[in-house]
């Protein structure tokens, strides 16, 4: 039996290719957006982990040090005095190649004789050394790299390569190739291997290494090594760096995934819409089936099978689209990761079974879920022709008060969920869902209100056709409200994210203007825009201080402290009094905090305090060169430089605890009577020994910071556009279905003398009203979403307090977008309706 019903429903779908195709497209886009975000995130993480694994090799543990790494004497102590065999020293750094589109490679400094147990590709048999091992070990700055990297750089063995390491220009000598295989090809692609001594010289880490790799097979051995470690050093598992990276990106990834889910929710409205239409169109058919004995369960089964078919086709199509969309998103996402978090180069797309499972589950289950209600409706179709249309519409209209009250209850429930005190980001997003459903349930009430206002206006302006257009929105409210709600949601998301980004942007600009209160800023070239991972020699600071043109200066040293599986960013500031005003304190008395600061207490940035749950007056334990040390919190200040958070302390106090040489950045005030550009040029020449200086003016730094900010939100904007496209398809699909449903009515109108152009006008006036109504719903909903994003989601994700700023331009744009999308979607159905043949339409029963 089900075979015949399935055949019948399949033919129904094929006879309505527009509806079927648009629904599949809606599902496909929803799935594509979610899956492509997942693929892009996963590919970035996999690329990072692969490069980590290529470096970590088979090591199980690592000994890490404090600020400036580990003295190589500690390595010798374990290797020679304690006789530990599986132990290897490592230096890691990044090099960029100026002539190769700023490509970044990882430089790995190793002791080739200690390598055999750790990295297969570095065992001597794995390396083909032109000139033998001798060149690699004896030639200064000699490197080996994979064949693929050599080809990409268009180099051969024996060539030299000019690179930038920590802002200094260096010349490397290519002395060999790493033998690569399928497993390690991708990981080795961006790797330069050099001898540990060359690495020390290239990175300026004299007598020091970054960490020590170990292979530890039992707990006793682990305990023994731990007991031998001096204060300030720790033994940690090799995977912990990848875990730290994962933690850093957690909030970023969750927010992207949530935005992508929004597109899927818009898609769900579309599926719901289509399934409802398909049931409505077949009321007589379903009624006939019921009269001849098909049970209600079999009818709902038939509708759910249709949904399943659409879900499967949509999901598969979505996967194909996701593959291509993810290629674009990877560029944006890896750019953001490089800007904000760490260096990663994503050259391949990685897809995990989990992504496929999640995408397929979302696409198919979501489709089935959204088809449940229409299937239930279908199963309730009264046998034989059943309820007539007007009855159905009036039954919905009768339900409007109940729907509106339910909507308010949903919104209150959402508010309650959102107000639950929690750091959980998913809970916050979960709280948005009832708010959205609440607004959707209010949609019919708003449609009625808008129609009441527009009906006399339309009649006055456009005569009877205008009246018909406005009435038709209400007459077909059971169809139009879903389309309007879907468009409203997509536009509201645009408004919400737009206001959030705008608010965040103006907050950041205000903060930057206050914080960057100097004329010129000097730093070493950095591979990560938001942080300075390279340092300048201290003599640069002395030279700048000595300049007559400089009236005052600030400087800082940034230290990334690996501790407790996290990375703590310490900013040690030598700050002039005139720059105190750059700090805006959230907690702490501004009149007292600076004295405490001078005396060794620290300032915590707002995200740091939030994420680590540390309050004013409490202590924070930090791993110093002299072991763990307590630092009292003197103040909590607003800061938007890092979502990981910062610990700011006085530079002199800092140097008591950490032997971290060098300066990360300097800012100077130019004495009156000098131009900023001339002083900038003068500072530019201060670099010595190949040290490159990045010297920027206030304006340039402000502009480039804002540029990075805008780049960060590019993905969000792309996702917004895709959501609007899904909603656009929803409106198009609704109008196409209405056109099918109203064929006879339109035929009668034509038979009574209505011109095709008048029919077209009716459709356009109708879609204008639908777009306008969607806009009316979207504006308050968008503002509510923005408030949730600003006050709850961002706070819980990143710990930032933002000023809420409603920009009228965003609201106007949203209304225009809403109306334009609706009008655009109305063109084809309007054309089709105007071409309705009166005789054919009237012939149809």
């Amino acid at each position: 039996m089900s075979n015949l019903l399935t055949r019948s429903s399949l033919r129904f779908l094929l006879r309505h290719p527009w509806q079927f195709g648009l629904s599949v497209l809606g599902i496909a886009l929803g799935v594509a957006i979610v899956v492509s975000i997942d693929i892009a995130n996963y590919s970035s993480a996999t690329a990072f982990n692969l490069s980590m694994n290529a470096v970590a090799g088979k090591s199980t543990h690592q000994i890490t040090g404090t600020a400036e790494g580990i003295p190589d004497s500690l390595y010798r102590f374990f290797k020679k005095e304690k006789g530990i065999r599986n132990i290897a020293p490592v230096i890691e750094s990044y090099v960029s190649i100026p002539d190769s589109n700023k490509r970044v490679f990882k430089l790995l400094g190793v002791d080739i004789f200690a390598e055999r147990p750790f990295r297969d590709y570095l065992s001597q048999t794995g390396i083909s050394l032109n000139g033998g091992l001798k060149d690699f070990l004896t030639l200064p700055n000699s490197v080996i790299l994979s064949k693929e990297s050599l080809d990409k750089l268009k180099k051969v063995i024996g060539d030299t390569l000019t690179v930038l390491i920590n802002g200094k220009q260096k010349v490397l000598y290519i002395t060999g190739i790493i033998n690569e295989d399928e497993q390690n090809r991708s990981a080795l692609e961006n790797l330069f291997i050099t001898d540990i001594a060359s690495a020390q010289e290239l990175t300026g880490k004299n007598d020091k290494i970054d960490y020590i790799d170990l292979i530890i097979n039992n707990v006793q051995e682990e305990q023994q090594i731990k007991s031998l470690l001096p204060d300030g050093y720790q033994l940690q598992k090799s995977g912990s760096r990848s875990e730290t990276a994962e933690q850093m990106l957690e909030a970023f990834n969750i927010n992207l995934t949530s935005l992508s889910l929004l597109a899927l929710i818009v898609g769900l409205f579309l599926i719901y819409n289509t399934m409802t239409y398909s049931v409505v169109q077949r009321r007589v058919l379903i009624g006939t089936l019921r009269s001849i004995g098909v049970t209600s369960k079999e009818i709902s089964g038939m509708i759910l099978r249709e949904a399943l078919i659409m879900g499967i086709i949509g999901t598969v199509t979505g996967f194909i689209a996701a593959y291509f969309i993810s290629k674009i998103l990877i560029i944006f996402i890896s750019q953001t990761i490089n800007d904000l978090y760490y260096v990663v180069s994503v050259r391949e797309i990685y897809i995990s079974p989990m992504i496929i499972l999640k995408g397929a589950g979302l696409g198919i289950i979501a489709t089935l879920l959204s088809a449940i209600y229409p299937a239930r409706e279908a199963s309730r179709v009264h046998p034989r022709s059943a309820m007539i249309r007007s009855e159905q519409e009036s039954s919905l209209l009768r339900n409007v008060p109940r729907m509106s009250i339910t909507g308010v209850i949903f919104m209150i429930a959402g508010a309650v969920i959102l107000l639950i005190p929690s750091h959980n980001i998913w809970l916050s997003y979960f709280g948005i869902l009832p708010v959205i459903i609440g607004f959707a349930l209010m949609a019919p009430l708003i449609i009625i209100m808008v129609e009441k206002i527009f009906s006399p206006l339309y009649k006055k302006l456009f005569g009877i056709t205008g009246k018909m257009a406005s009435r038709s929105v209400l007459q077909n409210i059971s169809r139009t409200y879903i389309a309007i709600a879907a468009l409203a949601l997509a536009v509201a998301a645009t408004v919400g994210v737009g206001i959030m980004i705008g608010s965040f942007r103006s907050t950041v600009i205000n903060w930057l203007e206050a914080r960057l209160n100097a004329d010129i800023f000097i730093s070493a070239p950095s591979l990560i825009s938001r942080r300075n991972d390279a340092v300048l020699p201290e003599e640069i600071l002395s030279k700048i201080k000595a300049l007559d043109e400089v009236s005052d200066y600030n400087f800082y040293r940034e230290l990334i402290l690996p501790q407790d599986g996290k990375e703590y960013h310490i900013i040690a500031s030598g700050i002039s009094k005139r720059s105190y005003s750059g700090f805006q304190f959230k907690e702490g008395d501004p009149n007292e905090v600076w004295e405490k600061f001078e005396n060794g207490e620290v300032f915590l940035s707002e995200p740091f305090a939030y994420k680590n749950d540390i309050g004013l007056g409490e202590n924070i334990k930090l791993k110093t060169d002299n072991g763990l040390q307590d630092f009292k919190v003197a103040a909590i200040y607003y800061d938007y430089a890092s979502d990981q958070g910062l610990i700011t302390m006085n530079y002199d106090q800092f140097r008591k605890y950490w032997n971290a040489e060098g300066i990360s950045g300097i800012s100077v005030f130019v004495k009156e009577g000098n131009t900023i550009d001339s002083v900038k040029d003068k500072i530019q020449t201060l670099g010595t020994d190949g040290q490159q200086l990045v010297v920027r003016t206030y304006k340039y730094l402000l502009d480039s910071s804002v540029e990075i900010f805008d780049r960060t939100f590019l993905v969000a904007k792309v996702l917004q556009i895709l959501s609007v496209i899904v909603a656009f398809i929803g409106i198009l699909s609704s109008l196409m279905s209405l056109q099918l449903e109203r064929r006879r009515e339109l035929g009668i109108l034509r038979a009574n003398g209505l011109l095709p152009s008048q029919l077209f006008k009716i459709v356009m006036l109708q879609t204008f009203l639908m777009g306008f109504t969607a806009g009316v719903i979207a504006l308050p909903l968008g503002n509510v979403l923005a408030a949730i994003l600003v006050y709850i989601i961002n706070k819980r994700s990143f710990g930032w307090t933002m000023q809420f700023e409603v920009m009228p331009s965003i609201l106007i744009e949203a209304l225009v977008l809403s109306i334009a999308a609706a009008l655009l979607a109305g063109i084809y159905p309007g054309y089709k309706m105007s071409k309705t043949s009166p005789s054919n339409a009237l012939k149809e029963e």
Binding site: M1, S9, G293, P383, R384
Partner: protein
Amino acid sequence: MLELKNVNKDFYEGSAKHSVLNNFELSVPEGEIIILLGKSGSGKSTLLNIISGIDVPDSGSVKIDGTDITKLSEKDRTLTRRNKIGFIFQFFNLIPTLTVKENLQLPLELNNDDDQEMRINSILTEVGLLNRANSYPDKLSGGEQQRIAIARALIHNPDIILADEPTGNLDYETGLQIVDLLDRVVKKKGKTMIMVTHSKDVIGLADRIYSLKEGKVIETKVGLDIE
């Protein structure tokens, strides 16, 4: 045997109550053809809905072969309808997405009947449309569609045929052909049929004719003016 006792059915329009069937009683022995006459809104279609179990009365009983279907669940009423009743509609109501053959196959599949192919061919021959087996309903004329609808109502060998104005949507000539067909395939097969009609041409088929008036049934003699 079909038996309706004390059947009441009211409809409400706002707060106003309209009584459609008022202590309605009817007994139809097996193999009898009953024709129901009555004005629009007199409750003819409601009666068919109640007999088929599509609708339930507010009170009273409807027994088919001794089983009171008003006491059955919605699902069991559907299964009774599937098994024991064939429907013929004024507007044919064939499934547009199934071919003629598949439309006929549907009741057989619903009832898990055997020999589907043979029965379909046989009934198509009987209604004279064997050559249209693979056509879709929208390719058939109104008369042809109704012939297929009659074939669909009969193919699973139900005990009762319910026909709601089967000639109401057809021209005179075609209507006569349908009457002839009903005579051949329903009457001669000894099926029980309850037909709602306004057509005088169908009256010749009837064993008994009833009029529905104010919710009650009155037996009418052949030859009286049909309202």
